[in-house]
């Protein structure tokens, strides 16, 4: 029998933590993204010519949302599971009649919800600066949800792997942030020299940003099919790793 109450308890607990620290959880990412938008989109962007027929401000909106979504999903989920490990309260969850799948769903759903919330706020706020156009709202929402869930799963894995606050920040700072900046959030891959265009194709973030931008403007650096395949593969890899972690009790059970 599914322990739905247990799953919801974790979800509510995590969400209440979000609202308890609303400045850090929501206001801070929204403000920093808006600053990006004002500086790159409005101030510098007004001097940059249109990319694929889009003014620079409009072009960077999907990338900026993606930048926030990826960072927030990873940090929310990694902190969500790491903190109980750090304080010792994880014993409660591990000794409760709740399956690994239910535990993961609780933490990941909460982290993804928060990211989606932040992403939506950024989307709404950006509409005050530019004229927003979403050609495929259904796919936009679908990508937003899937990418949030995938990166929340990645964050969950990092949170389990980490045995110190430094490790918790290691992957987001050294891998995810650089890849996101180099993943076409602020420019089109087509603007790069051919060699770097080829190299960029190995950056998974390129596919996420492209898919998300496509849902807005039908405009993407790579084919939408490749994007969907990349997103699905990444999601599956994260799911498999989480299953293995719980099966073998990696860094959870002695």
């Amino acid at each position: 029998m599914i322990n739905f109450r247990g799953l919801m308890s974790i979800y509510k607990f995590e969400m209440s933590r979000t609202f308890r620290t609303i400045t850090q959880s929501i206001a801070s990412p929204v403000i920093s993204t808006m600053l990006y938008f004002i500086v790159f989109g409005t101030a510098i962007g007004s001097r940059i010519e249109a990319i694929d027929g889009l003014d620079y401000g409009s072009f960077i909106v999907p990338g900026l949302i993606m930048l926030t979504i990826l960072g927030q999903s990873v940090s929310n989920a990694s902190f969500g599971i790491y903190f109980p490990k750090f304080t010792g309260t994880i014993y409660e969850v591990l000794s409760a009649p709740i399956s690994p799948l239910e535990i993961t769903c609780g933490y990941v759903a909460a982290a993804a919800s928060k990211s989606i919330m932040v992403g939506t706020i950024i989307l709404i706020t950006s509409s005050f600066f530019i004229e927003l156009k979403i050609l495929h709202p259904f796919y936009m929402l679908l990508f937003l949800i899937i990418i949030s869930v995938t990166f929340s799963l990645l964050g969950f894995i990092i949170g389990i792997w980490a045995d110190g606050f430094e490790k918790l920040q290691l992957i987001p700072l050294l891998i995810i942030t650089p890849l996101t900046f180099l993943g076409g959030s602020f420019y089109s891959i087509k603007m790069l020299p051919p060699f770097w265009q080829e190299i960029s194709m190995f950056n998974p973030i390129v596919y996420l940003v492209s898919a998300f931008r496509w849902s807005f403007y039908e405009n993407s650096d790579v084919s939408i099919l490749s994007c969907v395949l990349a997103i699905t593969s990444f999601l599956l890899v994260c799911v498999v790793v989480v299953i293995l972690i719980f099966r073998y009790g990696y860094k959870i059970k002695n």
Partner: protein, 304 residues
Amino acid sequence: MSEAIEINNVNKVYSNGFVALKEINLKIHSGEIFALLGPNGAGKSTLINIICGLTKKNTGDVSIFDFDNEKSYKQARSLIGLVPQEIATDSFEKVINTIRFTRGLFNKPNSDKYIESILKKLSLWEKKDQQIRTLSGGMKRRLMIAKALSHEPKILFLDEPTAGVDVDLRKSMWEQIIKLKQLGVTIVLTTHYIEEAEKIADRIGIIDKGKIILVEDKRDILKKLGNRKIIFSLANEINELPKSLKHFDISVDKNKLIYFIDKANEEKELPKLIKDFAHNSIEVSNIEIKENTLEDIFIELVKK
């Protein structure tokens, strides 16, 4: 009597090679207070963690009211409440919310009425809307018990529940534990305070170096192993024991005669001994009766 917990051939070796448990076989009866005693590193917490699903065992089986704790872990765990050794709480959460959280984890619908009764019993009701960080150490310990009881478990594990707790609070916690027993909850506690086990436990298990070395009814242990001795302080020092006293289990220590009571012949021997004292003109100035406590027995067993 039905078994609340049945442990068969459980072994545990940690990844660093440390052998924590060796062939543990143990049955804990429903409705009893079972005290697990042992020195530091004996394996008490490892055993509790294995039963509760926090640590993986290498071999063996554990069942909780006939539910295997791995194959039917949901049913098994739903019957257990755990108070770990360390106080681990989310400091910024409110008291009432943390109880609701634990209850929810155990798949129980919210019941403000039940939560109120638990908090009142543990004298925490007044603090229900306070953040946990504002509670005193003793209150936090009681909160840990409240959390463990929030889902109405049939078995309560208390891992060193009164460690670092003052005497008054310790006694009030003993009263709470006894009340829980009266409500039909099976209680398993580990403790360093042997007095605690002596006061409240029905049965006692002693674990040392990962092995259970004794499991017995508390009264039986005290009866079997709890020797008594009588110390006679003498008015005048004697150097040697008079011949007529030599068949008694008695030793001389300057101006003291220490008599180890032979329980089987206690009623016959004691009057005879007193008579022989008079016969040998041994003048007694004071008599002191000393009974072996559980602590003495524990130290003796662990030394072996």
